[in-house]
């Protein structure tokens, strides 16, 4: 399927796909950081919850719709994606209401530690409802698109293209929401200065609900795409959390656009590690891809803790 001598462009193509997943996850994490003001360690497991909710919905969407497909993927997959995003959005709002809001009296550290508990509970519930095995969505196998393979010599499947395209659509939609709508302006105002926003008449509690909905939906999209590209595993979200945090810190904590940029860079580096290893730039291979992301994160903390787009440390 992949030519023996792997073209450098192949790594770049893989990097674009992986970056899409990290960007989606990093945006949600960064939104929570900027508006709810704490490091949400449950974000990775929220991705898992989204991915498994989608998997659950495949059970009834698939018989309903049969094999009709668009863009090389069956129609039921898109509905399952929407279902997963909706479920994760609702779950994250409920989690905020039931668990985070009552702890609100304490500082962001109390919320941070609570979020660890939430992460473990999410994962335990996934284990209990779906078992511990890795699963698949059952999307039919696809070969690489022939003309891309012939012209560039790299293997790109239609599902890769769908993942990247949908990510671009979601990110663009978020950008338009933040810049062109009243809700977006309220969200930016709340992120900038919650007290000031409240004084000027913004119902910040509604903004916080919107933020959890958007963050949860994007996390689920990232989780579903990760499950589509690899496997749907109960630990998938937690395993990727470090990389997502690295992206958020690289971009600047709390900056949504920084998270996009950081996600792009970290996702790309993560996939380019084997290539750099071949070239002799770094002495480690793909088994240490996450470690390389970690080293970048530590370097950023040393040199510019506010990240690329952040304004204060």
């Amino acid at each position: 399927m992949i030519p023996l001598q792997i073209s450098p462009f192949q790594y770049v193509a893989n990097g674009v796909v992986f970056s899409s997943i990290i960007v989606l996850a990093a945006i949600g994490l960064s939104l929570v950081y900027s508006i709810a003001d704490f490091a949400n360690f449950a974000h990775g497991d929220l991705m898992t919850v989204g991915a498994f909710s989608a998997l659950f919905s495949v059970g009834f969407f698939r018989p309903m719709l049969g094999d009709a497909g668009v863009f090389g993927l069956p129609l039921w997959f898109f509905l399952a994606l929407a279902f997963g995003m909706g479920t994760a959005a609702v779950i994250s709002v409920i989690t905020d209401r039931v668990i985070y809001q009552p702890v609100k009296g304490s500082d962001s550290i109390g919320l941070l530690i609570s979020s660890i508990g939430v992460a473990l509970v999410y994962r335990a519930l996934v284990f209990l409802s779906f078992g511990t095995e890795a699963e698949r969505y059952g999307v039919p196998r696809q070969g690489p698109i022939p003309w891309v393979r012939e012209s560039l010599g790299i293997a790109v499947t239609p599902r890769n293209l769908v993942v990247v395209t949908l990510t671009v659509v979601l990110v663009a939609a978020l950008h338009l929401t933040l810049t062109r709508t009243t809700l977006g302006r309220k969200m930016r105002a709340t992120a900038d200065n919650a007290d000031l926003a409240r004084i000027s008449g913004i119902r910040t509690s509604e903004v916080i609900i919107a933020m959890w909905l958007i963050g949860g939906a994007l996390a689920a999209a990232g989780g579903v795409f990760l499950g589509l590209e690899e496997l749907v595993r109960p630990r998938m979200g937690f395993d990727i959390l470090l990389i997502v945090f690295a992206a958020v810190i690289l971009g600047g904590i709390g900056s949504v656009y920084g998270a996009m940029l950081g996600g792009l860079v970290i996702g790309m580096v993560h996939e380019l590690v084997p290539l750099f290893n071949q070239w002799g730039v770094i002495p480690v291979g793909s088994r240490y891809a996450a470690a390389v992301a970690f080293v970048i994160m530590v370097a950023i903390l040393l040199v510019r803790p506010s990240g690329i787009a952040g304004d204060s440390g």
């Binding site: 490091a39 360690f41 609570s114 473990l120 284990f127 209990l128 996450a290 470690a291 970690f294 803790p305």
Partner: protein, 374 residues
């Protein structure tokens, strides 16, 4: 005898909550001892569990220095523990990949040095920044260290683990189980007394100031970065010592216990016991081991096996739920620190003077003066 009883009333049963907690603990102890005499529990098993509780208590004391004293969020407890365990295993086991077979002392020394170095390395980029940066970076560090131990098979034997680790002080005229249990008791006593001493010192007071208001500590001219680094290193070294001890207790080590869940068990021990309270850390560790081993015990009961329930997810659910509930309802934990931070002499002095309304006075107690306050 009166000295002992006053010490008990001063330290263990100062208010109703504490009386209840220690009554439950006492009851469990009596049941365990009765179990040994009745032949239900093997003494060897009990001693092993005591040593295990002791190891968890050491880890909790280490985390308490970081989180309880200085407010540092360290999510790589399991990694520092693993560093200690692997230092001990690699240097002392004759059939480890290094094949050195050195005296255990070198294992402990290496554990201390390596863990201190890594703590400094991770502290340099994060301790000048907001608390959550250390939380994120330490979680990453834990994953990296686990990846290294799993992948560098030439040096660490990877997932197959290292066996043949020697017992500690096998020349003592006791069984191996009794020796390790005795060693951990001594270790805990040493660490406990050391921590109590430093916590009451000016150094400890600065740390407490940093925890409650770092800007204030800075305004008072304290180099808060240095103090936080010292607390971080001390805590990490204690964790590594616990790890080295575990290697000699279990006589076998593999990377499976280096998972983040181990770290969160210790977090529960500390926040359940009472953040900042060393007594709490020890009690919390005992509770956590009871949860862990208790649920493992349930697995062996035939009835539960027939139900076909896998207990690992339930344990995860329980741990997660417990963290949420403690943070919501009892952030102080079971045994929050009270007057243990104050020199006994200073406290007695202020009382006999009758001047300052001692805010640290025990709540419901009629505690007489004298005796050590712990």
């Amino acid at each position: 005898m009166s000295a002992v009883s006053s010490w008990v009333s001063e330290t263990l049963v100062r208010d109703a909550t504490e009386r209840r907690i220690f009554a439950v603990l006492g009851l469990i102890t009596v049941l365990l001892v009765a179990g040994v005499f009745a032949g239900v529990i093997g003494p060897r098993f009990l001693l092993f569990q005591i040593a295990l509780v002791g190891m968890y208590a050491l880890l909790s004391l280490g985390l308490n220095v970081q989180w309880g004293y200085a407010g540092l969020i360290n999510f790589s407890v399991a990694a520092f523990w693993g560093i200690g365990a692997y230092c001990a295993a690699l240097l002392t086991a004759p059939n480890s990949p290094l094949g050195l077979g050195l005296h255990p002392v070198f294992g402990f020394l290496a554990a201390i040095v390596v863990s201190a170095l890594i703590a400094v390395l991770i502290g340099i980029p994060t301790l000048r920044l907001r608390e959550d940066y250390l939380a994120i970076a330490s979680l990453g560090l834990a994953e990296v260290i686990r990846a290294i131990i799993l992948n560098e098979r030439r040096w660490t034997a990877g997932s197959s683990g290292i066996s043949g680790i020697p017992n500690l002080m096998s020349w003592l005229p006791l069984t191996d189980a009794a020796t390790t249990a005795a060693i951990v008791v001594v270790l805990i006593a040493v660490v406990y007394l050391f921590l109590r001493r430093v916590h009451r010192s000016p150094w400890g007071r600065v740390l407490r100031t940093i925890r409650s208001d770092e800007d204030l500590a800075k305004a008072l001219g304290k180099d808060t970065y240095r103090f936080k680094m010292q607390a971080f290193v001390i805590g990490s070294v204690i964790m590594a010592v616990a790890g080295a001890f575990y290697a000699h207790l279990n006589l076998y080590i593999d990377p499976s216990d280096l998972v983040p869940l181990t770290t969160f068990y210790i977090w529960i021990a500390v926040i359940l016991g009472g953040t900042g309270s060393n007594r709490g850390a020890v009690v919390g560790a005992a509770v956590v081991i009871a949860i862990r081993e208790g649920t493992r015990f349930l697995n062996d009961i035939g009835f539960i096996q027939t139900l076909g329930i896998d207990l690992a997810p339930l344990r995860l659910l329980f741990v997660g739920g417990l963290i949420i509930l403690i943070m919501r309802f009892r952030q102080d934990g079971l045994l929050p620190p009270k007057d243990e931070l104050i020199w006994p002499a200073a406290r007695d002095g202020s009382r006999s003077g009758g001047a300052s309304p001692s805010s640290a006075a025990p709540d419901g107690g009629t505690a007489p003066n004298g005796g050590d306050d712990r």
